[in-house]
């Protein structure tokens, strides 16, 4: 009987250690998000988080749209100077 209990406990201990290591190493965050919950980075809800509706009876569309202004493509950086070739003796 003692042998049975010892063996079972050892198996459970090994399994618990394995499961514990696995679950601890899985968080993508350096620390738990404040407030918990399922939201990204633990961001919490407050009135106004999602803003007022852009449709419905109280909605008036904005009249000014700024033309998108694309930044110029970045120039490629100059290549580094070629390394001097080692001279043979």
């Amino acid at each position: 009987m003692n042998r049975f209990i010892r063996k079972t406990l050892s198996i459970v201990a090994i399994a618990a250690a394995t499961l514990g290591v696995t679950s601890c190493s899985s968080s993508p965050y350096s620390s738990p998000p404040p407030g918990g919950g399922a939201a990204y980075m633990g961001v919490g809800y407050y009135d106004g988080f999602y803003g007022g509706p852009w449709y419905g009876p109280g909605y008036r569309p904005p009249t000014v749209i700024v033309p998108p202004s694309r930044p110029p493509p970045m120039r490629p950086r100059p290549l580094p100077a070629p390394m001097p070739m080692p001279r043979g003796r």
């Binding site: 993508p28 509706p53 449709y55 904005p62 998108p68 970045m74």
Partner: protein, 288 residues
């Protein structure tokens, strides 16, 4: 025999748990640039109560692929075009009334995220989360400006995407719609180092080192709409994309209009109320 069965079951349980280990959110760029372009908007997340619905909507509209990352805190989705990752969908907090809701958040690149976060609160804004590290991706903070528009700060470990031509479905531009654009310019100057100059009819252009990075344009006083950063996605054909967007359930909230530089723009609400814009540039068809 009993021991063997118990051992087998535990090994299976252990393996299945290890297999379900959450993925990590990947770096911002598949190919690191190690360039830092402070003040540039380098990423956008849709914060939503409905990750699946919105992922289906945007992936159908722009023909993007969907990669779902289920982490310990909830769900994060990366939507990618053939050119690479375009935007993310982050699980947002539930509304008190349980109704679906979404809002876009633009991330500014910064090389000093703690100072930038401090500047948010010093200038009347609010830090909602962070700054904190997301391994592989970098340092993040989520914030709201004094007008209530959500935005993020990011120091990407892979560097920032360099300025390049934008393809179909790519992020072409960001505009903040707000009641008083002039009042917000000093806020983004202190937080993101952006200079401002007056645009037409009360709009403000935000620039850094001579490059336009974003704009702020006025919302009318008598409207239910509140300040929001809006991403502009480049499309090859406005008419075709509008038709598809409506079929998918989007609402048109600003009618299509051709602006002075020849770009045709329309603003829409997705099926959960997230506001985004389509932009057909004079060269859109050529870049297909």
């Amino acid at each position: 025999m009993v021991y063997r069965i118990v051992l087998f079951l535990l090994v299976v349980a252990s393996a299945s748990t290890a297999g379900a280990a959450p993925e990590r959110i990947p770096p911002l760029l598949p190919e690191p640039t190690h360039e830092r372009i402070p003040g540039k908007i380098v990423w956008a997340d849709l914060f939503t109560t409905e990750s699946n619905t919105t992922a289906r909507f945007y992936s159908s509209l722009f023909d993007w692929s969907v990669r779902t990352i289920a982490d310990a805190q909830g769900k994060y989705v990366i939507l990618s075009s053939s050119a690479g990752p375009v935007v993310g969908i982050a699980r947002g907090p539930d509304r008190k009334d349980g109704r679906p809701a979404s809002r876009w958040m633009a991330y500014f690149s910064t090389d000093g995220i703690d100072d930038a976060a401090a500047a948010v609160t010093q200038n009347g804004g609010r830090i909602l989360a962070g700054p904190g590290a997301i391994p592989e991706r970098g340092m993040h903070a989520l914030a709201a400006d004094p007008a209530g528009a959500l935005f993020g700060l990011m120091t990407s470990t892979a560097g920032d995407p360099v300025d390049a031509e934008v393809g179909e479905g790519g992020l072409l531009w960001f505009n903040l719609f707000a009641r008083d654009p002039q009042a917000l310019a000093p806020f983004y100057a202190d937080v993101a180092g952006l200079e401002s100059h007056d645009g037409r009819r009360g709009a403000v252009m935000l620039t850094r080192e001579g490059v336009d990075r974003a704009s702020i344009s006025p919302l009318g006083e008598e409207t239910s709409a509140t300040a929001t950063w809006v991403p502009f996605f480049k499309v090859a054909s406005m008419d075709r994309k509008l038709k598809l967007a409506r079929r998918l359930g989007a609402k048109l909230v600003v009618e299509p209009d051709t602006l002075e530089n020849g770009t045709r723009v329309a603003v829409l609400a997705d099926t959960t109320g997230g506001i985004f814009a389509l932009a057909e540039t004079p060269h859109s068809e050529e870049s297909r």
